[in-house]
């Protein structure tokens, strides 16, 4: 998004280290090693294979690109930091990914040491096109090991590769591996160990390296890559079953049908499949609350634990299974290669709303959470399409809205069959809310794309990767990653808000006693905003919830849990029953509509600010969404109230 923050030196210069010849890198051992390569070369699979669970995700300072780094200890006990850089086709700073990769490799990235060596990962089944990226990377003059991945696929489809000859021509060691099967990795470990003799590429005696084509001259780079692969590489036959699958998946009739079936199946699984797991977690949380209530002596601390912490955080943790399932399905679709086909199928429909096929993937992830969705937009090269996608992503019904929807729907909508046993009123209401969010997203996209974000020239280009079996290992690692992010949020933001709210709900003390919640600090804040939200049908308690849920939507459930938990001594009526007393049906529908549209999520605001490089878009987005939410909730309250009277 932002311009490349070019470092001091702007030209790729060959290392001045003269001499050439083979320099053996024995001790001191390598410290930082970067994984570089084009998209779909299996870089991340190799990274996962090498580091396992010892990895962490962060963002590069100032940019949006995620930064995966991990540590491994070699057999000789050498500690190596591996950095998984974004997939790139060149080091020309044309996209943010390319900027980041170039800056890290040159040591211009703040906070990240210049890598001591490079693992250049290329797809052996696509060697001649992937070798194009080798020219600029070798031109950096860092010790490099060329890792040709997908050895199993190459052999399976009748391709061959002469690694010795290619290594000879490139002047750097070349190994053939299968990262997904974990085969052929010994030389990679030796390289990381420093026990593999590695020549410095720049200034080496191999003439081809001294004639590296300029990185920005694509035809020249391609000609160079073709010369290199001629005689060393026999291209594999096109993947037969990728072709056969595409004939079905992209069939004019079967294609869209399969697409719809997959989308419906994912949602079905998330709602019905997650239910027993969620009940399990809920039972655990309730049990824990009861155990604490029974074990601890009566004190403000006990109340803080049961009402504040368990009521607030516990109510949110319940949604972990649902979120993990959603990420599991998205992971399977992505890793298998289907998601690229889905983007292709969706492109025509998305084009009608001024968007493009690549917007489909972020929008689908936004059903889990807008934060990764906004980050996923970086595959969209077209800046305006990308901003439009970022702006509409939070309208998609994210998993944080589920607790709110579930609570209010269960309390106010009686369960009656609509379509026999297939669809009940509650499920229909839920689907209606999903449709509402989606419609708002499309409407907004249309409006944006026909005004301020009219498309510029960047075209839609989509590479369709070969189909592959998703690897359990990388799916698992991703789920652990996402689960930790969610739990961390529950353990930090939501915990802090819950405790803070509980305290505010018990102050000011008079004669050492807490006031009625209505007269507490929290209560008076709620009553201050009450006139503003009264037209929507909300009272001061909902007002407190609206304020706390600015941090994250699901917080309102915790907040109401805390408020009603404090208020009712016997606490047997449950949150839903308590809400029934406090909200009119009109107010309940208005609350649902408000949450469908409002941007109640600080994490999303923060990530949008980071992605768009400033406050302009997030402020606009927040105001627009809140305004729309207010107006529509007001209308909903009026309509429902008039209709019922």
């Amino acid at each position: 998004m932002s311009d490349c923050h070019a470092g001091p030196g702007t030209s790729v210069s060959a290392s001045p280290a003269g001499g050439g010849g083979v320099v053996s890198l024995k001790a001191p051992a390598l410290k930082t090693v970067a994984l570089v390569g084009p998209p779909n070369a299996g870089k991340t699979t190799l990274f996962n294979r090498l580091t396992g669970l010892r990895q962490k995700v962060a963002n590069y300072p100032g940019v949006t690109v995620e930064h995966h780094s991990g540590r491994l200890t070699s057999k000789r006990g050498v500690e190596v930091d591996l950095i998984d850089l974004p997939g790139i086709y060149s080091l020309e700073p044309r996209s943010e990914d390319e900027c980041v990769t170039r800056d890290v490799l040159r040591g211009d990235m703040q906070g990240i040491p210049r890598p001591d060596a490079v693992l250049l990962v290329l797809d052996a089944t696509n060697l001649s096109r992937h070798l194009v990226v080798a020219a600029p990377v070798l031109g950096l003059g860092l010790p490099t090991l060329v890792v040709l991945n997908m050895a199993d696929d190459l052999a399976g489809r009748g391709g061959t590769l002469n690694t010795a000859e290619l290594s000879q021509r490139l002047g750097v060691p070349v190994v053939l591996v299968s990262a997904s099967k974990g085969e052929g990795l010994e030389p990679v470990f030796e390289f990381l160990d420093g026990s593999l003799a590695v020549p410095l590429p720049a200034g080496s005696p191999f003439p081809i390296l001294n004639n590296l084509p300029a990185g920005n001259d694509v035809p020249q780079c391609r000609a160079w890559a073709t010369r290199l692969s001629q005689g060393t590489w026999k291209a594999p036959a096109p993947s037969l079953w990728s072709r056969r699958l595409d004939a079905v998946v992209l069939h004019p009739l079967a294609g869209p049908l399969i697409f719809l079936m997959i989308v419906v199946a994912v949602f079905q699984a998330i709602f019905t499949g997650a239910a027993p797991l969620m009940e399990g977690v809920e039972a655990l949380v309730t049990g824990l609350g009861k155990w604490i209530g029974a074990t601890l002596p009566e004190s403000p601390w006990r109340d803080l634990m049961t009402e504040g912490v368990i009521g607030g955080v516990g109510g949110v943790v319940v949604f972990l299974p649902q979120i993990l399932l959603l990420f599991l399905f998205i992971g399977i679709l992505e890793d298998s290669g289907y998601l690229a086909r889905a983007a292709l199928i969706a492109d025509r429909t998305m084009a009608r709303f001024g968007l493009q096929g690549k917007s489909f993937i972020p929008l689908l992830s936004a059903y889990a959470c807008a934060v990764p969705a906004v980050m996923a937009t970086r595959t969209i090269e077209n800046k305006r399409d990308r901003i439009a996608t970022i702006l509409i992503a939070p309208f998609m019904t994210c998993s944080a809205r589920l607790p709110v929807y579930t609570l209010v729907i269960a309390a106010f909508i009686p369960e009656r069959p609509l379509l026999g046993p297939l669809l009940g009123t509650r499920a229909a209401a839920m689907i209606g809310l999903y449709v509402l969010g989606f419609a708002a997203a499309l409407f907004t996209a249309r409006a944006l794309k026909s005004s301020v974000l009219r498309s510029d020239g960047t075209p839609f280009l989509l590479e369709l990767p070969s189909y592959r079996w998703p690897m359990l290992r990388s799916l698992g690692l991703r789920l652990v990653d996402r689960g930790m992010v969610f739990l961390k949020r529950a353990g930090t933001i939501i915990l802090a808000v819950s405790i803070g709210l509980w305290i505010l709900a018990h102050l000011p003390l008079t004669d050492g006693k807490s006031p009625q919640i209505r007269d507490s600090v929290a209560g008076s804040i709620g009553r201050t905003v009450e006139p503003l939200i009264e037209p929507l049908g909300f009272n001061w308690k909902v007002g407190i919830g609206l304020i706390t849920s600015l941090a994250a939507r699901e917080v309102i459930v915790g907040t109401l849990g805390t408020i009603y938990g404090i208020e009712s001594e016997e606490d047997t009526q449950g949150l839903g029953a308590a809400l029934q007393k406090d909200l009119t049906p009109g107010g309940a529908v208005a609350l649902l509509v408000f949450f469908a549209f409002a941007m109640q999520c600080m994490s999303t605001v923060a990530v949008v600010k980071r992605e768009t490089g400033g406050w302009k878009w997030p402020i606009l987005q927040f105001s627009y969404m809140t305004g729309l939410a207010y107006v529509c909730a007001f209308a909903a309250n009026r309509i429902v109230t008039a209709w019922l009277s």
């Binding site: 044309r94 001649s128 391609r222 292709l344 199928i345 960047t458 075209p459 280009l461 590479e463």
Partner: protein
């Protein structure tokens, strides 16, 4: 001059003129430098061989095979990529 399709003026063929399964040699990318660069990196280099694999279910975008990979382009882009033959 007749403007009917049968008696056409000399027309430089583009990727849009390929039938599914047909292949041809690229001659020129009539696109802004930025776009041409990205296409060339994906394999659409003048002189290379491209074949038309199949359209997406709606007819657009279309999938082309170049240098062993499938790449999808919208017809507005494919129309600007010229082939080494006339039709």
């Amino acid at each position: 001059m007749q403007l009917s399709g049968n008696n056409r003026l000399p027309h430089r063929a583009t990727l849009l003129d390929l039938a599914p399964g047909e292949e041809a040699t690229l001659s020129e990318l009539n696109l802004p430098e930025e776009v041409a660069h990205r296409l060339m990196i994906l394999g659409f280099v003048p002189g290379s061989t491209v074949s038309y694999t199949r359209p997406a279910p709606g007819g657009d975008p279309r999938v082309y095979r170049v240098d062993g990979a499938d790449v999808a382009l919208r017809s507005e882009t494919a129309r600007q990529i010229h082939l080494d033959r006339s039709m």
